[in-house]
């Protein structure tokens, strides 16, 4: 079977104040169905930009991105993003409404069905007691869990995670990683996960693509089961780096 997501020789550029910056340079990788795939690299390696290109928010100047063999042209509910920022929930909607709104606004289902689905996924992330709460009353970890539930409830082809735990404290972060793996055991979703943390990449991913910065290029692709933090660190920063 063909891989779900194909990123083929993708070069991404963006301009700030008239200056053109190359975010990634001819990056290629493939994500299989039900795989947890990680993009790992230091800041400035274009990993977030790459994720947003898969989301359809920016277009490659070279190469192409295919989902199920179809070229990605615009954002759509078949690729749900979870962001790093804690303000990604709509503050004027309760936790439950945030999930149901995603489902109804995208035309996936009608309100009664959406409510059932929302309750199901909110229970999965242990937010059943907070369905009627407004986002500003939640802790950072709860907000991110609600955002993950919202994305998962859409049952997208692929979940795009842009450092979703980076704004959280270390303890919450570790807990969230465990919970995410538990969720994956239950539903086997496909996930493209961006992070700059080597331990997180090893913990969360099946396979990891390592990217250099300025511009982002693929240096290696490794299996997380056969890698350790020290060797990945060497690959990313070379022998001269003092860890």
């Amino acid at each position: 079977m063909d891989p779900l997501l194909k990123v083929e020789g993708v070069t991404l550029q963006y301009s700030t104040n008239g200056q053109l910056t190359t975010a990634t340079d001819r990056v290629s990788f493939e994500v299989e169905r039900s795989e947890r795939f990680v993009l790992l690299g230091p800041s400035g390696c274009g990993k977030s930009t790459l994720l947003k290109a898969v989301g359809g928010y920016t277009r490659p100047v070279e190469g192409q991105i295919l989902l199920n063999g179809v070229k990605i042209a615009a954002p759509g509910p078949d690729r749900m993003l979870v962001f790093q920022e804690l303000d990604q929930l709509l503050p004027w909607k309760t936790v439950q409404e945030n999930v149901t709104f995603a489902l109804t606004a995208s035309g996936k289902m009608r309100a009664p069905e959406a409510r059932e689905r929302a309750a199901h996924y909110l229970a999965k992330v242990n937010l059943s007691d907070f369905t009627g709460s407004y986002p500003h009353t939640l802790s950072g970890g709860m907000k991110q869990r609600a955002a993950i539930a919202r994305a998962m409830a859409m049952e997208p082809q692929i979940l795009l995670m842009d450092e979703p735990f980076a704004s959280l404290d270390a303890l919450t972060r570790a807990k969230m990683q465990d919970d995410l793996l538990q969720l994956w055991e239950e539903t086997k979703f496909t996930m493209l996960f961006v992070t700059h943390s080597i331990p997180e990449a090893i913990r969360v991913g099946h396979r990891i693509v390592l990217l250099t910065s300025h511009p982002g290029r693929v240096i290696a692709q490794v299996e997380s089961s056969s890698s350790d933090a020290a060797s990945i660190h060497r690959m990313l920063f070379g022998g001269e780096a003092h860890a």
């Binding site: 759509g76 509910p77 986002p135």
Partner: protein
Amino acid sequence: MRKVVVLVTLALLWEGYARWLGNPLLFPTLTMTVAALISGFASGELPTAIGYTLQLLLKGYTAGVLLAGLFTALASASRIGADFLEMLTAMFNPLPSIALLPLALIWFGLGDGSVIFVLIHAVLWVVALNTFSGFKGVSPTLRMVGQNYGLSKAGFIARILIPAAFPSILAGLKIGWAFAWRTLIAAELVFGVSSGSGGLGWFIFEKKNQLLIPDVFAGLLTVILLGLLIENLVFGVIERRTVRRWGMQT
């Protein structure tokens, strides 16, 4: 509780001073004012004036808000539109609307048209500016979340941009209302002479001409009470049900 004490003290001071002065043509007592207020309501004169003023306010305010929506749409659509809005707002915002009344009287004649024109000017700029800056301030993350759902352009504006910018929009509506209210009373005072029927400003003006000073005070009191009522009831309730509940108060 403390507010009640302050209110009672002020009432006592008023009553005491007016009695000591003993000249109701200059400064009537509180009791006389209240009596005038009650008889004004009983005769139906004040309710008619209030009704007239409020319907005029509603017309001007609605027109101003709708125009502000249009201006914001134009400003959001293009760079040059945004420049226009910012320039016009910078020019017209410092200009008290009432200063346009003489000109409006020449353009639209003596009548409601002139007052509505002045009211639109009072509301338009501040609402448009606040709405526009509210839209600009919507976080890129929320925008991307909205786009992720595949909403149409209109759906995106109505269901993401407007609620996300609502604290700023509401602030604009509130300031716009305050401008409009003050402008309207002033406008009615200035050309109260023109028509037989009129609003609260006209009521105050007319009573002054008849030297019914307690009635003048009753009219002023009505203006204050109505202003407080709308600010606390209408906007207060909207605020509690929206931005405060959402934790979005700026």
